[in-house]
Symmetry: C2
Subunit: 343 residues, 2 copies
Amino acid sequence: MTRRTRRTSGRVTLDDVARRVGVSKITISRALREPWRVSEGLRQRIHAVIDELGYIPNRQAGALASARSRSIALLVPSLSNAVFSEVIRGVDEGFAGSGYQVLLGHTSYSREEEAHLIDTYLSFGVDGFIISGSQHTDSARQRLSRCGLPICEIMELPESPLDMAVGLDHEAAGHALTGALLELGYRRLGFIGARMDYRARRRLEGWQRALTEAGLSTAACLTTESPSDYRLGGQLLGELLEQYPALEMVCCVNDDLAAGALFECQRRGIRVPDQLGLTGYNGLDITEATTPTLSTVITPRRRIGVAAASRMLSRLEGDQGTEVLQDLGFEIALRESTRPAGG
Amino acid sequence: MTRRTRRTSGRVTLDDVARRVGVSKITISRALREPWRVSEGLRQRIHAVIDELGYIPNRQAGALASARSRSIALLVPSLSNAVFSEVIRGVDEGFAGSGYQVLLGHTSYSREEEAHLIDTYLSFGVDGFIISGSQHTDSARQRLSRCGLPICEIMELPESPLDMAVGLDHEAAGHALTGALLELGYRRLGFIGARMDYRARRRLEGWQRALTEAGLSTAACLTTESPSDYRLGGQLLGELLEQYPALEMVCCVNDDLAAGALFECQRRGIRVPDQLGLTGYNGLDITEATTPTLSTVITPRRRIGVAAASRMLSRLEGDQGTEVLQDLGFEIALRESTRPAGG
DNA sequence: CTGAAAGCGCTAACAG
DNA sequence: CTGTTAGCGCTTTCAG
């Protein structure tokens, strides 16, 4: 009794190429993956046939057979936040030419969504994870630590890293920025924040610590869990100034809010920095473009991506590596939106 | 003679679950994919065991066996351009709950990179492509049309679409915006553009056609192939004004350039719109945030994504559909950066 | 340097 | 409602 043969995708397979060349399929496979193990002439014939037939390897079959997919998952909170587009670029750069494919996922700042994406990418058989942040659901932590894959947490420096981590100390950055502002002579400082995720909260904590150490008030602080955008920056600034009209400086938890706050100042005719100072955080392009330019903390977003990729690659190639946390630091950039030193 | 058994990934498989429950693995598979075909009680036991064992299906194996990966590729030029983050969001929304996974790729505005990504995603076995734009390399066009997968080109309305398309007419949009400016009384118009891809060129053509129809000069036009950013907007504006100091309006090919141009005006003390009008294109958040707000053309980016996803889904579910091109239009938004009507 | 056989983990097809 | 068999397209292992 003849069963009907299973309908196939109709695509060209390794076997098609092999038959055409007149060798066995393993030889084609080797010509692709270990070319030095196949004789020169044969290799050329094989490549000619591959081009002729338009053969495209089936990675799923390859991954299934070899238990390695040559892909890694990169999980970021948001694709619309320019901060992460530079991280992504860095990761891409870091993997360029390695043969690994980066699969991008965005969690919309939700741990549950993150947990779900982790399962999804595990079922895709990724060989490793690069994940923004250190705040995961319990079940995600379990899944990640049990799967045995290399993991790199990025952006911050976790207290208990799952595996590797590359980032910077946001509390220290918030503290350093605030310290620099105090040195410029500012005394009445406010803070506005949106989307107060872990890193944002750490910046705020740094701001609070610096002020407390200087014996100054941390009361003028207004935060919300809403997503950050320009208009919200203006709105929060307005609300803060209503309560604290005498502020001489408003620190914004990120550059978007700072730019929005600046636009609002322009709308209200508040001169920056003469009447009010403003700072952002991250060092996005816009901070160098506005009039006045915005003082900010420059975070090494692209370098974080590159470093994460390169550490991931070493691990995938067998290195165990020693250091767990990698601190890439930050840079305080004082520009036109804060009064000049000695001013 | 016993061959050594192949080392496996160590992960829990369908078989592990099946043995534990005491049924055959196909039943587990069905409980997951066609739950209604498995008896209530058994289904519950199965799910309990799945949770207990932490089973995660292997999609590669599933895809290999079924010749469907339940994933689709979304190719955009850039992840740092806010235009595309909204398209992506739309596509995600459109596929939410469908069981399809969106695999995101970015081409860096390079056709060669696009062609390469197409091969990559074909080797991942995606079930369809959503691709920005209609400008592909010959080999990419061939690959796409031969693979037999549903394809949706987005953002523009291609002259010879590969399959489906969802977008808008950028030439018409450029023409309409310019027409509206002429109605406001502007007569000496300039244009600045960066990253002059197909869509940008179409906008410029619309601008030129409108001016030509009105018998006005299109000479004050300055474009570059460099990537677009805020600072470039300022720089191009400066160069254009040097050559054409009497301009009363500068149309920018996108919102980034327009915002940058506005910041440059503020730097130079040029009052907008009193001394110079400014327009952008796309309707990004920043256009509503700056002081003054920026006149622009609002493009339905998110809706394009949603529509592309939903048409892709219909095709994946067997509908053939009739219409090829889907025009989602645009909206002219005249705001504070252009003089008021009758002004 | 090349090949044969086995099997990765799953699902389609055909029973029962 | 549940099971058996075959095989997706590739790579591993072992032989020559």
